[in-house]
Symmetry: C2
Subunit: 255 residues, 2 copies
Amino acid sequence: MISLSLVGIGTGNPAHLTLQAVQALQEADLLLIPLKGEDKADLAELRRTILAQHPVQGRVVEFELPLRDSTDSDYVGAVERWHDAIAVAWRVQVERHLPQGGRVALLVWGDPSLYDSSLRISARLGWPVSVVPGITAIQALCAAHAIPLNSLAAPVQITTGRRLREGGWPQGAVTVVVMLDGACAFRHLTPEGLQIWWGAFLGMDEQILDHGPLAEAGPRIEQARAAARAAHGWIMDCYLLRRDPASGDDGGPGA
Amino acid sequence: MISLSLVGIGTGNPAHLTLQAVQALQEADLLLIPLKGEDKADLAELRRTILAQHPVQGRVVEFELPLRDSTDSDYVGAVERWHDAIAVAWRVQVERHLPQGGRVALLVWGDPSLYDSSLRISARLGWPVSVVPGITAIQALCAAHAIPLNSLAAPVQITTGRRLREGGWPQGAVTVVVMLDGACAFRHLTPEGLQIWWGAFLGMDEQILDHGPLAEAGPRIEQARAAARAAHGWIMDCYLLRRDPASGDDGGPGA
Protein backbone atom coordinates (compact mmCIF):
# COMPACT_ATOMS: atom_id res chain seq x y z
CA MET A 1 0.00 0.00 0.00
CA ILE A 2 1.46 3.30 -1.18
CA SER A 3 0.29 6.77 -0.12
CA LEU A 4 1.60 9.92 -1.70
CA SER A 5 2.02 13.33 -0.08
CA LEU A 6 2.61 16.30 -2.39
CA VAL A 7 4.43 18.80 -0.22
CA GLY A 8 4.55 22.43 -1.32
CA ILE A 9 7.94 23.88 -0.30
CA GLY A 10 7.53 27.50 -1.38
CA THR A 11 9.50 29.36 -3.98
CA GLY A 12 13.13 29.24 -3.01
CA ASN A 13 13.41 30.50 0.53
CA PRO A 14 13.86 27.47 2.82
CA ALA A 15 11.94 29.47 5.45
CA HIS A 16 8.84 29.36 3.21
CA LEU A 17 8.37 25.83 4.49
CA THR A 18 5.32 25.44 6.72
CA LEU A 19 5.32 23.45 9.95
CA GLN A 20 2.88 21.08 8.25
CA ALA A 21 5.37 20.54 5.41
CA VAL A 22 8.21 19.82 7.85
CA GLN A 23 6.02 17.22 9.54
CA ALA A 24 5.04 15.60 6.22
CA LEU A 25 8.71 15.28 5.23
CA GLN A 26 9.60 13.78 8.59
CA GLU A 27 6.78 11.23 8.41
CA ALA A 28 7.66 9.98 4.92
CA ASP A 29 9.34 6.64 4.28
CA LEU A 30 10.64 7.77 0.88
CA LEU A 31 11.34 11.33 -0.32
CA LEU A 32 11.62 11.86 -4.05
CA ILE A 33 13.67 14.71 -5.51
CA PRO A 34 13.22 15.04 -9.26
CA LEU A 35 16.14 16.42 -11.28
CA LYS A 36 15.33 18.43 -14.39
CA GLY A 37 18.77 18.67 -15.95
CA GLU A 38 21.60 21.05 -15.27
CA ASP A 39 19.65 24.26 -15.89
CA LYS A 40 17.56 23.76 -12.81
CA ALA A 41 20.21 22.23 -10.59
CA ASP A 42 19.60 25.13 -8.19
CA LEU A 43 16.07 23.83 -7.60
CA ALA A 44 17.34 20.39 -6.59
CA GLU A 45 19.90 22.18 -4.41
CA LEU A 46 17.10 24.00 -2.57
CA ARG A 47 15.43 20.68 -1.83
CA ARG A 48 18.74 19.34 -0.49
CA THR A 49 19.14 22.43 1.71
CA ILE A 50 15.65 21.91 3.12
CA LEU A 51 16.35 18.25 3.92
CA ALA A 52 19.66 19.19 5.54
CA GLN A 53 17.86 21.69 7.78
CA HIS A 54 15.12 19.19 8.72
CA PRO A 55 16.69 15.76 9.05
CA VAL A 56 14.31 13.01 7.95
CA GLN A 57 14.08 9.31 8.75
CA GLY A 58 12.96 8.26 5.28
CA ARG A 59 15.15 7.43 2.31
CA VAL A 60 15.94 10.38 0.03
CA VAL A 61 16.16 9.51 -3.65
CA GLU A 62 17.05 11.81 -6.54
CA PHE A 63 15.98 10.76 -10.02
CA GLU A 64 16.04 12.20 -13.53
CA LEU A 65 12.72 13.39 -14.88
CA PRO A 66 11.91 12.47 -18.48
CA LEU A 67 11.99 15.47 -20.85
CA ARG A 68 9.00 16.91 -22.68
CA ASP A 69 9.15 16.80 -26.46
CA SER A 70 9.39 20.54 -27.09
CA THR A 71 9.34 20.00 -30.88
CA ASP A 72 5.81 18.55 -30.73
CA SER A 73 3.39 21.13 -32.19
CA ASP A 74 0.49 19.52 -30.27
CA TYR A 75 1.23 21.32 -26.98
CA VAL A 76 -1.48 19.76 -24.82
CA GLY A 77 -0.92 16.30 -26.31
CA ALA A 78 2.83 16.54 -25.71
CA VAL A 79 2.22 17.58 -22.09
CA GLU A 80 -0.15 14.61 -21.59
CA ARG A 81 2.46 12.18 -22.97
CA TRP A 82 5.13 13.79 -20.79
CA HIS A 83 2.97 13.36 -17.69
CA ASP A 84 2.45 9.69 -18.59
CA ALA A 85 6.22 9.27 -18.72
CA ILE A 86 6.74 11.04 -15.38
CA ALA A 87 4.13 8.81 -13.72
CA VAL A 88 6.10 5.78 -14.93
CA ALA A 89 9.32 7.30 -13.54
CA TRP A 90 7.68 7.83 -10.13
CA ARG A 91 6.36 4.27 -10.08
CA VAL A 92 9.79 2.85 -10.96
CA GLN A 93 11.41 4.72 -8.04
CA VAL A 94 8.70 3.75 -5.58
CA GLU A 95 8.74 0.06 -6.56
CA ARG A 96 12.52 0.02 -6.33
CA HIS A 97 12.90 1.79 -2.98
CA LEU A 98 9.64 0.95 -1.23
CA PRO A 99 8.74 -2.58 -2.37
CA GLN A 100 6.72 -3.23 0.80
CA GLY A 101 4.74 0.02 0.42
CA GLY A 102 4.72 3.07 2.68
CA ARG A 103 4.50 6.84 2.62
CA VAL A 104 6.04 8.72 -0.28
CA ALA A 105 6.63 12.49 -0.16
CA LEU A 106 7.32 14.54 -3.24
CA LEU A 107 8.78 18.01 -2.68
CA VAL A 108 6.90 20.38 -4.97
CA TRP A 109 8.18 23.85 -5.83
CA GLY A 110 5.63 26.48 -4.79
CA ASP A 111 2.20 24.95 -4.17
CA PRO A 112 0.96 21.71 -5.77
CA SER A 113 -2.26 23.46 -6.89
CA LEU A 114 -0.78 26.24 -9.04
CA TYR A 115 0.56 25.51 -12.54
CA ASP A 116 2.08 22.31 -11.28
CA SER A 117 1.50 18.90 -12.82
CA SER A 118 2.02 16.70 -9.76
CA LEU A 119 -1.71 16.24 -9.07
CA ARG A 120 -2.42 15.35 -12.70
CA ILE A 121 0.48 12.89 -12.71
CA SER A 122 -0.64 11.37 -9.38
CA ALA A 123 -4.09 10.72 -10.83
CA ARG A 124 -2.46 8.28 -13.27
CA LEU A 125 -1.09 6.13 -10.41
CA GLY A 126 -4.20 5.45 -8.35
CA TRP A 127 -2.46 5.98 -5.00
CA PRO A 128 -4.24 7.97 -2.28
CA VAL A 129 -2.90 11.53 -2.43
CA SER A 130 -2.72 14.23 0.21
CA VAL A 131 -1.58 17.79 -0.42
CA VAL A 132 0.36 20.12 1.86
CA PRO A 133 -0.07 23.68 0.59
CA GLY A 134 2.99 25.88 0.09
CA ILE A 135 3.77 29.53 -0.59
CA THR A 136 3.25 30.31 -4.28
CA ALA A 137 5.28 32.60 -6.52
CA ILE A 138 2.26 34.95 -6.57
CA GLN A 139 2.39 35.38 -2.79
CA ALA A 140 6.18 35.71 -2.81
CA LEU A 141 5.85 38.41 -5.51
CA CYS A 142 3.23 40.40 -3.59
CA ALA A 143 5.15 40.01 -0.32
CA ALA A 144 8.44 41.14 -1.86
CA HIS A 145 6.78 44.27 -3.26
CA ALA A 146 4.53 44.67 -0.18
CA ILE A 147 1.47 45.07 -2.43
CA PRO A 148 -2.00 43.53 -2.29
CA LEU A 149 -2.87 41.00 -4.99
CA ASN A 150 -6.32 42.52 -5.53
CA SER A 151 -7.53 46.10 -5.55
CA LEU A 152 -10.30 46.78 -3.05
CA ALA A 153 -13.13 44.25 -3.61
CA ALA A 154 -11.91 43.76 -7.22
CA PRO A 155 -11.19 40.53 -9.12
CA VAL A 156 -7.85 39.02 -10.10
CA GLN A 157 -7.05 37.05 -13.23
CA ILE A 158 -4.19 34.53 -13.18
CA THR A 159 -3.04 33.57 -16.65
CA THR A 160 -0.07 32.41 -18.73
CA GLY A 161 2.34 34.33 -20.94
CA ARG A 162 1.03 32.45 -23.97
CA ARG A 163 -2.56 33.50 -23.32
CA LEU A 164 -1.63 37.13 -22.69
CA ARG A 165 0.32 37.19 -25.97
CA GLU A 166 -2.47 35.53 -27.95
CA GLY A 167 -5.51 37.05 -26.27
CA GLY A 168 -4.30 40.47 -25.10
CA TRP A 169 -5.53 42.15 -21.92
CA PRO A 170 -8.41 40.07 -20.51
CA GLN A 171 -11.70 41.93 -20.90
CA GLY A 172 -12.74 43.79 -17.77
CA ALA A 173 -9.63 42.78 -15.82
CA VAL A 174 -8.19 45.06 -13.14
CA THR A 175 -5.28 42.88 -12.00
CA VAL A 176 -3.61 40.20 -14.11
CA VAL A 177 -0.89 37.88 -12.79
CA VAL A 178 1.18 36.24 -15.51
CA MET A 179 2.94 32.91 -14.96
CA LEU A 180 4.94 30.61 -17.26
CA ASP A 181 6.04 33.47 -19.47
CA GLY A 182 9.32 32.74 -21.19
CA ALA A 183 9.16 35.67 -23.59
CA CYS A 184 7.94 38.85 -21.85
CA ALA A 185 4.39 38.73 -23.24
CA PHE A 186 3.74 42.17 -21.68
CA ARG A 187 5.56 43.58 -24.75
CA HIS A 188 2.42 42.87 -26.77
CA LEU A 189 0.17 45.06 -24.60
CA THR A 190 -0.60 48.73 -25.07
CA PRO A 191 1.27 49.99 -21.98
CA GLU A 192 -0.79 53.11 -21.27
CA GLY A 193 -2.57 52.93 -17.93
CA LEU A 194 -0.79 49.75 -16.81
CA GLN A 195 1.59 49.28 -13.88
CA ILE A 196 3.85 46.23 -13.60
CA TRP A 197 5.40 44.54 -10.55
CA TRP A 198 7.95 41.91 -11.60
CA GLY A 199 10.08 39.45 -9.66
CA ALA A 200 12.60 36.75 -10.57
CA PHE A 201 14.14 34.07 -8.33
CA LEU A 202 11.52 35.06 -5.76
CA GLY A 203 12.43 34.15 -2.20
CA MET A 204 15.98 33.18 -3.21
CA ASP A 205 19.18 35.08 -2.47
CA GLU A 206 19.29 36.01 -6.18
CA GLN A 207 15.84 37.67 -6.03
CA ILE A 208 15.44 40.60 -8.46
CA LEU A 209 12.51 43.03 -8.35
CA ASP A 210 11.31 45.90 -10.50
CA HIS A 211 8.10 47.87 -10.80
CA GLY A 212 6.68 50.97 -12.38
CA PRO A 213 4.55 52.12 -15.30
CA LEU A 214 4.74 49.37 -17.94
CA ALA A 215 5.97 51.83 -20.59
CA GLU A 216 9.07 52.59 -18.53
CA ALA A 217 9.61 49.41 -16.50
CA GLY A 218 8.83 46.96 -19.34
CA PRO A 219 12.03 47.55 -21.36
CA ARG A 220 14.10 47.59 -18.14
CA ILE A 221 12.62 44.23 -17.12
CA GLU A 222 13.27 42.68 -20.55
CA GLN A 223 16.91 43.66 -20.24
CA ALA A 224 17.30 42.56 -16.60
CA ARG A 225 15.59 39.26 -17.37
CA ALA A 226 17.88 38.49 -20.31
CA ALA A 227 20.98 39.38 -18.29
CA ALA A 228 19.92 37.30 -15.28
CA ARG A 229 19.03 34.36 -17.46
CA ALA A 230 22.41 34.50 -19.16
CA ALA A 231 24.20 34.75 -15.81
CA HIS A 232 22.33 31.90 -14.07
CA GLY A 233 21.61 29.63 -17.02
CA TRP A 234 17.90 29.63 -16.15
CA ILE A 235 15.27 31.97 -14.76
CA MET A 236 11.96 31.65 -12.96
CA ASP A 237 9.88 34.80 -12.80
CA CYS A 238 6.34 36.15 -12.77
CA TYR A 239 4.63 39.51 -12.72
CA LEU A 240 1.50 41.38 -11.80
CA LEU A 241 -0.09 43.98 -14.09
CA ARG A 242 -2.65 46.43 -12.73
CA ARG A 243 -4.78 48.86 -14.68
CA ASP A 244 -4.89 52.35 -13.16
CA PRO A 245 -8.38 53.13 -11.83
CA ALA A 246 -8.39 56.34 -13.89
CA SER A 247 -7.75 54.54 -17.16
CA GLY A 248 -11.40 53.81 -17.82
CA ASP A 249 -11.65 50.02 -17.77
CA ASP A 250 -12.15 49.32 -14.09
CA GLY A 251 -13.50 45.83 -14.22
CA GLY A 252 -17.24 46.22 -14.00
CA PRO A 253 -19.66 46.37 -11.08
CA GLY A 254 -18.34 47.22 -7.65
CA ALA A 255 -14.88 48.41 -8.71
CA MET B 1 11.27 54.49 14.71
CA ILE B 2 8.53 51.93 14.09
CA SER B 3 8.66 49.08 11.58
CA LEU B 4 5.69 46.88 10.82
CA SER B 5 5.69 43.24 9.80
CA LEU B 6 2.45 41.81 8.40
CA VAL B 7 2.69 38.11 9.10
CA GLY B 8 0.43 35.72 7.21
CA ILE B 9 -0.55 32.87 9.56
CA GLY B 10 -2.61 30.68 7.21
CA THR B 11 -6.26 29.79 7.48
CA GLY B 12 -6.79 28.12 10.80
CA ASN B 13 -4.34 25.27 11.07
CA PRO B 14 -1.50 26.38 13.38
CA ALA B 15 0.78 24.17 11.24
CA HIS B 16 0.13 26.47 8.25
CA LEU B 17 2.65 28.81 9.83
CA THR B 18 5.88 29.10 7.83
CA LEU B 19 9.33 29.06 9.43
CA GLN B 20 9.68 32.67 8.22
CA ALA B 21 6.49 33.60 10.07
CA VAL B 22 7.70 31.96 13.29
CA GLN B 23 10.91 33.97 13.04
CA ALA B 24 9.07 37.24 12.40
CA LEU B 25 6.89 36.67 15.48
CA GLN B 26 9.94 35.89 17.60
CA GLU B 27 11.78 39.01 16.44
CA ALA B 28 8.92 41.40 17.16
CA ASP B 29 8.89 43.77 20.15
CA LEU B 30 5.10 44.10 20.04
CA LEU B 31 2.56 41.62 18.66
CA LEU B 32 -0.91 42.94 17.93
CA ILE B 33 -3.97 40.67 18.00
CA PRO B 34 -7.09 42.43 16.75
CA LEU B 35 -10.44 41.30 18.18
CA LYS B 36 -13.48 41.54 15.92
CA GLY B 37 -16.25 40.91 18.43
CA GLU B 38 -17.62 37.69 19.83
CA ASP B 39 -18.52 36.09 16.49
CA LYS B 40 -14.91 35.72 15.52
CA ALA B 41 -13.50 34.90 18.93
CA ASP B 42 -12.26 31.63 17.40
CA LEU B 43 -9.93 33.63 15.17
CA ALA B 44 -8.34 35.40 18.13
CA GLU B 45 -8.11 31.98 19.80
CA LEU B 46 -6.10 30.64 16.85
CA ARG B 47 -3.64 33.51 17.23
CA ARG B 48 -3.32 32.73 20.95
CA THR B 49 -2.70 29.05 20.15
CA ILE B 50 0.04 30.01 17.72
CA LEU B 51 1.74 32.26 20.26
CA ALA B 52 1.48 29.54 22.91
CA GLN B 53 3.23 27.09 20.54
CA HIS B 54 5.96 29.58 19.63
CA PRO B 55 6.85 31.58 22.73
CA VAL B 56 7.83 35.14 21.84
CA GLN B 57 9.90 37.77 23.65
CA GLY B 58 7.76 40.70 22.58
CA ARG B 59 4.68 42.04 24.31
CA VAL B 60 1.38 40.56 23.09
CA VAL B 61 -1.53 42.99 23.03
CA GLU B 62 -5.13 42.28 22.11
CA PHE B 63 -7.30 45.21 21.09
CA GLU B 64 -10.81 45.79 19.78
CA LEU B 65 -11.08 46.70 16.11
CA PRO B 66 -13.49 49.49 15.21
CA LEU B 67 -16.60 48.27 13.36
CA ARG B 68 -17.48 49.11 9.77
CA ASP B 69 -20.73 51.00 9.27
CA SER B 70 -22.68 48.28 7.48
CA THR B 71 -25.68 50.59 7.01
CA ASP B 72 -23.66 52.93 4.77
CA SER B 73 -24.86 52.49 1.17
CA ASP B 74 -21.53 53.83 -0.13
CA TYR B 75 -19.66 50.51 0.20
CA VAL B 76 -16.22 51.63 -0.94
CA GLY B 77 -16.46 54.91 0.99
CA ALA B 78 -17.51 53.09 4.15
CA VAL B 79 -14.57 50.71 3.79
CA GLU B 80 -12.16 53.64 3.35
CA ARG B 81 -13.47 55.33 6.52
CA TRP B 82 -13.28 52.03 8.39
CA HIS B 83 -9.64 51.59 7.34
CA ASP B 84 -8.91 55.14 8.55
CA ALA B 85 -10.34 54.19 11.95
CA ILE B 86 -8.34 50.95 12.12
CA ALA B 87 -5.12 52.83 11.31
CA VAL B 88 -5.85 55.12 14.27
CA ALA B 89 -6.46 52.08 16.50
CA TRP B 90 -3.11 50.56 15.48
CA ARG B 91 -1.30 53.82 16.13
CA VAL B 92 -2.88 54.15 19.58
CA GLN B 93 -1.70 50.65 20.58
CA VAL B 94 1.79 51.18 19.21
CA GLU B 95 2.25 54.57 20.89
CA ARG B 96 0.98 53.14 24.17
CA HIS B 97 3.05 49.94 24.23
CA LEU B 98 6.10 50.90 22.20
CA PRO B 99 6.73 54.58 22.99
CA GLN B 100 10.45 54.24 22.18
CA GLY B 101 9.76 52.57 18.82
CA GLY B 102 10.61 49.05 17.69
CA ARG B 103 9.32 46.18 15.61
CA VAL B 104 5.58 45.55 15.45
CA ALA B 105 4.11 42.31 14.11
CA LEU B 106 0.51 41.96 13.11
CA LEU B 107 -0.81 38.41 12.74
CA VAL B 108 -2.87 38.33 9.54
CA TRP B 109 -5.34 35.55 8.76
CA GLY B 110 -4.38 33.84 5.46
CA ASP B 111 -1.97 35.99 3.43
CA PRO B 112 -1.69 39.78 3.68
CA SER B 113 -2.00 40.10 -0.12
CA LEU B 114 -5.39 38.44 -0.63
CA TYR B 115 -8.63 40.26 0.21
CA ASP B 116 -7.03 41.64 3.32
CA SER B 117 -6.90 45.30 4.23
CA SER B 118 -3.71 45.36 6.34
CA LEU B 119 -1.51 46.72 3.53
CA ARG B 120 -3.99 49.47 2.70
CA ILE B 121 -4.27 50.38 6.39
CA SER B 122 -0.47 50.34 6.80
CA ALA B 123 -0.12 52.81 3.94
CA ARG B 124 -1.97 55.38 6.09
CA LEU B 125 0.69 55.16 8.83
CA GLY B 126 3.89 55.79 6.89
CA TRP B 127 5.87 53.08 8.74
CA PRO B 128 8.17 50.80 6.73
CA VAL B 129 6.26 47.57 6.08
CA SER B 130 7.47 44.06 5.38
CA VAL B 131 5.23 41.15 4.47
CA VAL B 132 5.58 37.48 5.37
CA PRO B 133 3.41 35.43 3.01
CA GLY B 134 1.01 32.85 4.44
CA ILE B 135 -1.17 30.00 3.16
CA THR B 136 -4.38 31.41 1.66
CA ALA B 137 -7.89 29.98 1.83
CA ILE B 138 -7.58 29.22 -1.90
CA GLN B 139 -4.59 26.95 -1.33
CA ALA B 140 -6.19 25.36 1.73
CA LEU B 141 -9.31 24.68 -0.38
CA CYS B 142 -7.35 23.08 -3.23
CA ALA B 143 -5.19 21.09 -0.81
CA ALA B 144 -8.20 19.79 1.14
CA HIS B 145 -9.85 18.58 -2.07
CA ALA B 146 -6.51 17.54 -3.64
CA ILE B 147 -7.36 19.42 -6.83
CA PRO B 148 -5.32 21.81 -8.99
CA LEU B 149 -6.38 25.46 -8.98
CA ASN B 150 -6.03 25.76 -12.75
CA SER B 151 -6.84 23.37 -15.57
CA LEU B 152 -3.88 22.58 -17.81
CA ALA B 153 -2.35 25.87 -19.06
CA ALA B 154 -5.72 27.60 -18.42
CA PRO B 155 -6.47 30.86 -16.58
CA VAL B 156 -8.06 31.34 -13.16
CA GLN B 157 -10.33 34.18 -12.09
CA ILE B 158 -10.51 35.13 -8.41
CA THR B 159 -13.56 37.21 -7.58
CA THR B 160 -16.07 38.09 -4.86
CA GLY B 161 -19.57 36.81 -4.16
CA ARG B 162 -20.96 40.25 -4.90
CA ARG B 163 -19.37 40.39 -8.36
CA LEU B 164 -20.50 36.89 -9.25
CA ARG B 165 -24.06 37.77 -8.23
CA GLU B 166 -24.05 41.06 -10.14
CA GLY B 167 -21.98 40.09 -13.16
CA GLY B 168 -22.68 36.37 -13.61
CA TRP B 169 -20.10 33.90 -14.92
CA PRO B 170 -17.04 35.89 -16.07
CA GLN B 171 -16.74 35.77 -19.85
CA GLY B 172 -14.33 33.11 -21.08
CA ALA B 173 -13.55 31.84 -17.59
CA VAL B 174 -12.66 28.19 -17.00
CA THR B 175 -12.04 28.32 -13.25
CA VAL B 176 -13.54 30.90 -10.88
CA VAL B 177 -12.66 31.11 -7.18
CA VAL B 178 -15.20 33.02 -5.11
CA MET B 179 -14.23 34.76 -1.87
CA LEU B 180 -16.16 37.00 0.55
CA ASP B 181 -19.48 35.43 -0.34
CA GLY B 182 -21.97 35.73 2.48
CA ALA B 183 -24.97 34.63 0.45
CA CYS B 184 -24.14 31.69 -1.84
CA ALA B 185 -23.89 33.73 -5.05
CA PHE B 186 -23.54 30.48 -7.02
CA ARG B 187 -27.35 30.23 -6.74
CA HIS B 188 -27.59 32.91 -9.43
CA LEU B 189 -25.64 30.90 -12.03
CA THR B 190 -27.06 28.49 -14.58
CA PRO B 191 -25.60 25.32 -13.05
CA GLU B 192 -25.30 23.21 -16.23
CA GLY B 193 -21.70 22.35 -17.04
CA LEU B 194 -20.33 23.67 -13.73
CA GLN B 195 -18.61 21.74 -10.94
CA ILE B 196 -18.16 23.21 -7.45
CA TRP B 197 -15.59 22.50 -4.73
CA TRP B 198 -16.55 24.18 -1.45
CA GLY B 199 -14.87 24.42 1.93
CA ALA B 200 -15.66 26.11 5.24
CA PHE B 201 -13.41 26.57 8.29
CA LEU B 202 -10.55 25.44 6.04
CA GLY B 203 -7.58 24.07 7.94
CA MET B 204 -9.48 24.07 11.24
CA ASP B 205 -10.78 21.07 13.16
CA GLU B 206 -14.29 22.13 12.10
CA GLN B 207 -13.42 21.96 8.39
CA ILE B 208 -16.35 21.00 6.13
CA LEU B 209 -15.98 20.07 2.45
CA ASP B 210 -18.36 19.27 -0.38
CA HIS B 211 -18.07 19.02 -4.15
CA GLY B 212 -19.95 17.85 -7.19
CA PRO B 213 -21.98 19.14 -10.11
CA LEU B 214 -23.33 22.56 -9.07
CA ALA B 215 -26.94 21.50 -9.75
CA GLU B 216 -26.66 18.77 -7.10
CA ALA B 217 -24.04 20.08 -4.69
CA GLY B 218 -25.26 23.71 -4.66
CA PRO B 219 -28.44 23.11 -2.61
CA ARG B 220 -26.54 20.75 -0.26
CA ILE B 221 -23.90 23.42 0.33
CA GLU B 222 -26.50 26.13 1.01
CA GLN B 223 -28.02 23.90 3.67
CA ALA B 224 -24.70 22.82 5.23
CA ARG B 225 -23.49 26.43 5.28
CA ALA B 226 -26.62 27.68 7.05
CA ALA B 227 -26.44 24.87 9.62
CA ALA B 228 -22.73 25.40 10.31
CA ARG B 229 -23.19 29.16 10.61
CA ALA B 230 -26.01 28.67 13.11
CA ALA B 231 -23.95 26.17 15.11
CA HIS B 232 -20.74 28.24 15.26
CA GLY B 233 -22.16 31.75 15.24
CA TRP B 234 -19.97 32.64 12.23
CA ILE B 235 -18.57 31.02 9.12
CA MET B 236 -15.64 31.56 6.79
CA ASP B 237 -15.79 29.72 3.49
CA CYS B 238 -14.87 29.90 -0.18
CA TYR B 239 -15.34 27.82 -3.29
CA LEU B 240 -14.00 27.01 -6.71
CA LEU B 241 -16.23 26.65 -9.76
CA ARG B 242 -14.97 24.94 -12.91
CA ARG B 243 -16.64 24.74 -16.30
CA ASP B 244 -16.56 21.26 -17.84
CA PRO B 245 -14.33 21.24 -20.93
CA ALA B 246 -17.22 19.74 -22.93
CA SER B 247 -19.60 22.55 -22.08
CA GLY B 248 -18.46 24.79 -24.90
CA ASP B 249 -16.93 27.80 -23.20
CA ASP B 250 -13.36 26.71 -22.62
CA GLY B 251 -11.69 30.02 -22.03
CA GLY B 252 -10.20 30.96 -25.39
CA PRO B 253 -6.84 30.27 -26.97
CA GLY B 254 -4.74 27.42 -25.71
CA ALA B 255 -7.38 25.70 -23.58
